[in-house]
Symmetry: C2
Subunit: 428 residues, 2 copies
């Protein structure tokens, strides 16, 4: 998580805590087998920001420069790396990405900006490119100075070590309170040419979609100009990371970067709506949804992943608004943590969402079982199968607003004692 | 709290749980000594909705009818009593108020509406008034049918027993998860005539201001026409209950009623802005702020009350928006529960508030100690006095946005294991 701390003089930056939280029950059995992406090499190292000396620095190198698109936090208190990427993304090319975990370099003033500039200059010097072709992301404690030398010192060695693939190591290096590394990949074709899409992401608290949440990096060997890639990235983000919340707290550091190296060798496609890109657009969204669901399943303290399907909305924004109101309700999340079929709290959350819903058209299903409709509990409602569903790890809530044709799916997790344990003592 | 449940056939309505939560450390030493209000009589009884047979039904009688004003939840899934009051408030007079705890009569469809109508008719029959002069409020489990006989049966005995005062019993009867009864009173003058203002309220979860939150009832012997009383009530609500949040979950049942009997005998004042009402307006707001602070101090699981003062805003709405973003942040609330001076989370919450703030103009104080300003931690920041402040029960956070002249104060509480304990097993 892009976490926040106090620059109290008695803390060394290296004391950033690694959570001992047990592995999420939603964790996949193993990290997916993900192929290398032609034109992308990477390496990880330790710059001493994680307390246990674990890898906390990741360098990705694109040679030649790839097209880059991105979505950054809408926080009004963005980190120095977010400010940097917002400026650098405009020129649309990326030669290197430098990411550290353990210090967010957020709310660090001029010193934080200087650290980002020094890091970009160092990577640019190695790559022989302009600094604006270096993207930077940091996650960890906020408000604590980040010494540029911690990042620039190891860069030459990482540059020499950079090799294709290495996704498990990269996903682990960028993690903070995550209990498992997150990766997803898929293949598609453009003009008959096979194309690979690979992504990694980290959570796992301070997760709220406004927009893009946490850090996520997606690479493809497709040949797609930056403006087209930006359109496709924003569309995919709208149905993936932007439909994800753990605690409703939007990070200062949220960064999603999507890189297209063009190494696949198909003719470039210059229009986001070109049918030749339909398969790629779907694949990009599928990879990002997979990553978003993994982040929800690894929300701090999560024991259950909650998938909220809202249908019957007048428009997609209304569907998402209602879904997020349910997903961010502490009362809904604690009831599910307690395996309590307390569906009235879903009614409450719909009612407070701010969307112009109609109580008497609302229909609610839990685990596929109809529990409420037409302004009351369904006749002969039997809680038994719902209670059984709630004892599992994957919880499905379906809400039909009965107002229109639009739908949205939102992902979150339950609110448990684990979240309090992690966040009441984050810095201790 | 206006709580929510499942109408599972295996639960009898009388199984509504009374929380065994320990008394809040923010509780006042004793219920305040509050005078009777001329023209108001009340009585309490048990109608079997609380599991332990405690009083859960309250009747207040105004003779003659008093002027009434109200603010009701903005939930799109309001309870049947809220729908009733919304219709009945228009005529501006009240002879009786009937309140039950243990069942919110929310999301109960036509049967719920029939129960409200039967209850109003029964009270109106006793009072010899029209049913529209009976106001009704219910709090407790949502989605569970409420048998009208439970309320109408005891009403005649309560009518006979109604007597002046009795505020401690009334405040206790309307409570659910509250760990202490909430009351406040004050005296003022209108045209030189002494006037009394008395209020009671209940929390303590599903508390979010949109608008009026939980149940609150205020009585005065002032002589104020209903339209004027409505204006004054809305103004006082804007700086009291509407600046209060426990968990950001807006109840289906939120109801604030303010009754003016006119028994004080001063000449009626027909203009809300008449200087003769200035003292009364201040007193009304002071009583409601007192009640709001008590609700914050009794939020479910609360161990600390958090007062957030936002200044330097461009307008009052911006100040309130930022204050509520901080007050509703689970990461801020868990850090304070952990007595962790993790001020970066306040930066995060300001950043996510949606208000057009400026990171580099922001200034943050905790317990009066400057911790951050000009986009970074203050030079030579010493965490020691802040940590000492956080070990107390009353936590003060001051945020200056550096943008304008407006300010707002928001009240909330910390987020503790107690909240999870209460809400993960609410119905069990």
């Amino acid at each position: 998580m892009a976490e926040i701390g106090s620059p109290s003089p008695d803390r060394s930056p290296s004391s950033f805590p690694i959570m001992a939280a047990s592995r999420s029950p939603l964790a996949p059995p193993h990290f997916p087998d993900m192929p290398a992406v032609a034109g992308v090499a990477s390496a990880v190292g330790a710059c001493g920001l994680k307390a246990d000396g674990a890898a906390d620095l990741w360098l990705a190198v694109m040679a030649p420069a790839g097209a880059v698109a991105g979505v950054l936090t809408r926080s009004r208190c963005p980190s120095a790396p977010v400010d940097w990427c917002r400026g650098a993304l405009g020129q649309g090319r990326v030669r290197a990405i430098v990411v550290n975990a353990g210090n967010a370099n957020a709310y660090t003033g001029a010193a934080g900006r200087a650290t980002v500039e020094a890091t970009a200059a160092a990577a640019a010097g190695l790559a022989g490119c302009g600094p604006e072709q270096v993207m930077i992301a940091s996650t960890g404690v906020i408000g604590e100075p980040l010494d540029a030398a911690r990042l620039t010192g190891p860069l030459p060695a990482l540059w020499r070590a950079a090799a294709p693939g290495g996704w498990p190591a990269a996903a682990a290096a960028i993690g903070t309170t995550d209990t498992f590394p997150k990766g997803a990949s898929a293949q598609t074709t453009i003009h008959g040419q096979a194309v690979t899409v690979v992504g990694i992401a980290k959570g796992s608290g301070m997760i709220a979609p406004d927009m893009a949440t946490m850090l996520a990096f997606v690479f493809t060997d497709a040949a797609i100009p930056a403006p087209v890639l930006q359109r496709l990235t924003e569309r995919a983000n709208a149905v993936s990371f932007n439909c994800l919340t753990v605690d409703g707290d939007t990070s200062t550091s949220d960064t999603l970067l999507v890189v297209a190296t063009g190494a696949a060798g198909h003719p470039p496609v210059a229009d986001a709506d070109d049918p030749a890109l339909a398969g790629f657009a779907d694949t990009l969204a599928r990879v990002m949804v997979d990553l978003a669901r993994q982040v929800a399943g690894d929300g701090e303290g999560a024991r259950k992943r909650i998938t909220i399907m809202v249908s019957g909305a007048a428009d997609p924004d209304m569907a998402r608004q209602v879904g997020l109101a349910i997903a961010n309700s502490p009362l809904v999340k604690t009831a599910i943590a307690g395996e309590d079929a307390n569906w009235g709290r879903i009614v409450m959350a719909v009612g407070k969402s701010g969307a112009p819903t109609d109580r008497d058209r609302l229909a609610i299903r839990i685990g596929g079982v109809a529990v409420a409709a037409e302004g009351r509990a369904v006749a002969g409602y039997d809680e038994t199968p719902v209670a059984r569903h709630l004892r599992g790890h994957e919880i499905d809530i379906a809400v039909d607003l009965g107002l229109g044709p639009s739908a949205a799916t939102v992902w979150t997790c339950d609110l448990t004692h684990g979240y309090i344990d992690i966040n009441a003592s984050y810095r201790s």
